[in-house]
């Protein structure tokens, strides 16, 4: 949390504002969580069920059980769906490797910009535009291109897209960390006979390890949550969690319970990552412009 120097006591208005904000923040999370442990009759009853009479874990278990073995579970009408395990591994593969790609090209470019001042003002603008251009503008031709290259519905297709569209964040975040390490250290390395590229990776990089981890976790949050590209560029061979979530909406009734259960499972790692990198969140979200 950013440290504020001036510390006057909080007045009544402040307590009211914070209390209301906390309640409003927690209620939707509470609702998601309780839905995940509700049996089917409680999903959409005539008046809301604030806490299930008989909390169940079936919604979670169901996500990992094959269709044929579900007869003994309370949830009915769910037999047609595949289990969600594949969506969890698919999301992990795509988000993980997409992040890796983004971090690798990001670090390289960040050194180029920070230490060699390449590109003047055009390159920074270009890298920001990658993020600021609406993704819908990119997807239409990407569908055409990907179908020529056979990249539709593949891990590689999504990984490349995720790698590029989060690269602006990794470039600017890494640059902001690298900028904080004095160049003189690299000059010492040069005197001791290292090549310029070696000074980057053997002198500076170890010093920004913490920033590197923060950047990777930040990108992981973005890639794990991405929906539009996954929706448009995959058709069933690769199924990420956000796309899987939409398949629980059906004509014969929405599968609220399992959907919420998968939602809770998917949110957990992000809560943890978010907490770990809390200190660097502002920096990440503003492309490094806000340093605290």
């Amino acid at each position: 949390m950013p440290k504020v120097v001036e510390e006057e006591k909080l007045e009544v208005w402040g307590y009211v504002v914070i209390t209301v904000a906390i309640i409003l923040t927690l209620f939707p999370l509470y609702w998601l969580f309780t839905t995940a442990i509700k049996p089917q009759p409680d999903w959409l009853p005539s008046s809301p069920v604030w806490w299930p009479k008989k909390p169940i874990l079936e919604n979670f278990i169901w996500l990992f059980v094959e269709a044929g073995e579900r007869a003994s579970f309370i949830i009915t009408g769910a037999q047609r769906f595949e289990p969600a395990l594949k969506s969890i591994t698919d999301s992990a593969i795509v988000a993980g490797l997409g992040t890796l790609l983004s971090v690798v090209v990001g670090i390289l470019a960040a050194f180029g910009i920070s230490r060699h001042k390449i590109g003047g003002s055009g390159l920074p603008f270009l890298f920001l535009m990658i993020r600021m251009a609406p993704p819908v503008v990119a997807i239409i031709p990407l569908i055409v291109l990907y179908s020529h290259l056979g990249l539709i519905d593949t891990y590689l297709g999504l990984i490349l897209a995720y790698g590029l569209f989060t690269a602006p964040y990794s470039i600017w975040m890494m640059k902001s960390f690298i900028d904080e390490i004095p160049r003189e250290l690299e000059e010492v390395g040069l005197v001791e006979g290292l090549t310029p590229i070696e000074t980057h990776f053997r002198v500076t990089l170890p010093l920004v390890r913490g920033g590197l981890v923060a950047t990777a976790l930040f990108l992981l949050i973005l890639n794990w949550s991405e929906f539009l590209f996954a929706l448009v560029l995959t058709h069933g061979s690769v199924v990420t969690i956000p796309v899987k979530e939409t398949t629980y909406f059906t004509l014969s009734g929405n599968q609220y319970g399992p959907q919420a259960a998968l939602g809770v499972l998917a949110a957990m790692p992000l809560f943890i990552f978010g907490f770990i990198i809390q200190k660097y969140l502002a920096r990440g979200l503003t492309f490094g412009a806000v340093k605290r």
Partner: protein
């Protein structure tokens, strides 16, 4: 021999600072060329054709000049409305989030117990994936859902408003959803801004007897101008892409009441596959966005350099 010296020259260049920098930004530029720039050229080309995949290969399609653009601007009210709606949504949503975020951030500059944990809790919504946020609020805004239930307790009579079916009220639901999801962003950035203010001007004003409100309005806000602009611009840029929550909560409906540019482009391009026509729409959207960004992005670029 000549070739050899050329190679040596190239190698020499690559070992200079500039050459090395080129190698360093090379990978990301390659990725950019393949995944964004080439597709963009393709999109430019297609926007001058009536291409639909059922017509066969796109390079065999006819060239129809700017007629897609003319149709979009002069007679496609569905497209123009989606643009206007998106713009209006961005202005209102970002405005609300800024207001609440600033209020909360100001409260957090004061001293109280449990600050650290409350701070962490307030940031939680940002970590939830948009699809799940949309689905959560879809449940909350059902006619017999918890929102109506709480509302009836507050007004003292039963309410069964169908928030997601009414073409006007649905916007209230979407704004509340977006505000829940992204007010934490404003709160976080503005708190960072408040925390980075120099102490001297504030102390001086206090000595001179300025009230807390005067200090806030005349000293803190002007000092925070840069960070405020950055927060507004970045939030607006993300808000204009709004897609996931609408896809889940309304699908662009009722009718076309919640069709934003993202939903419009998705429906026409990726569902109906009117690729040529949608490409033109996408180019127009890009031009509009780039124009706005070009004007607003300066403060961010200044901070980055």
């Amino acid at each position: 021999m000549k070739k050899n010296s050329a190679t040596r020259k190239a190698l020499q260049f690559l070992s200079t600072s500039k050459g090395l920098a080129l190698i360093l930004v090379g990978p990301v530029l390659t990725l950019f060329l393949c995944i964004m720039f080439v597709p963009f050229l393709l999109e430019m080309y297609l926007s001058y054709t009536p291409w639909h995949p059922r017509q066969g290969d796109w390079w065999k399609t006819v060239f129809i000049g700017p007629s897609n653009y003319i149709d979009l601007i002069s007679s496609d009210s569905r497209f123009l409305l989606s643009l206007a709606r998106t713009l209006l949504f961005v202005v209102i949503a970002v405005g609300i989030e800024f207001g609440i975020g600033l209020l909360l951030a100001t409260a957090f500059t004061r001293r109280f117990t449990g600050k650290r944990i409350l701070f962490s809790i307030l940031l939680l919504p940002m970590m939830v994936m948009p699809i799940i946020v949309g689905y959560d609020f879809y449940m909350i805004f059902q006619p017999r859902g918890p929102f109506n239930s709480i509302l009836s307790m507050m007004v003292g009579q039963p309410t069964t408003i169908d928030w997601l079916i009414d073409p006007n009220l649905v916007w209230i639901a979407l704004l509340m959803t977006d505000a829940w999801h992204w007010t934490p962003f404003m709160f976080l950035i503005l708190l960072a801004g408040l925390a980075s203010l120099p102490k001297n001007p504030v102390d001086a004003a206090k000595v001179l007897g300025a009230s807390a409100w005067q200090i806030f309005k005349d000293i803190k806000l002007p000092l925070m101008k840069n960070i405020i602009v950055i927060a507004l611009v970045i939030r607006a840029m993300e808000a204009k892409n709004l897609f996931d929550e609408i896809y889940i909560m309304t699908g662009g409906g009722p009718g076309t009441a919640t069709e934003t540019i993202s939903i419009y482009t998705y429906i026409f391009g990726a569902v109906n596959f009117r690729v040529g026509y949608t490409s033109a729409a996408a180019i127009i959207i890009l031009i509009v966005t780039v124009t706005i960004i070009g004007l607003a992005i300066r403060p961010i670029l200044r901070e980055l350099r």
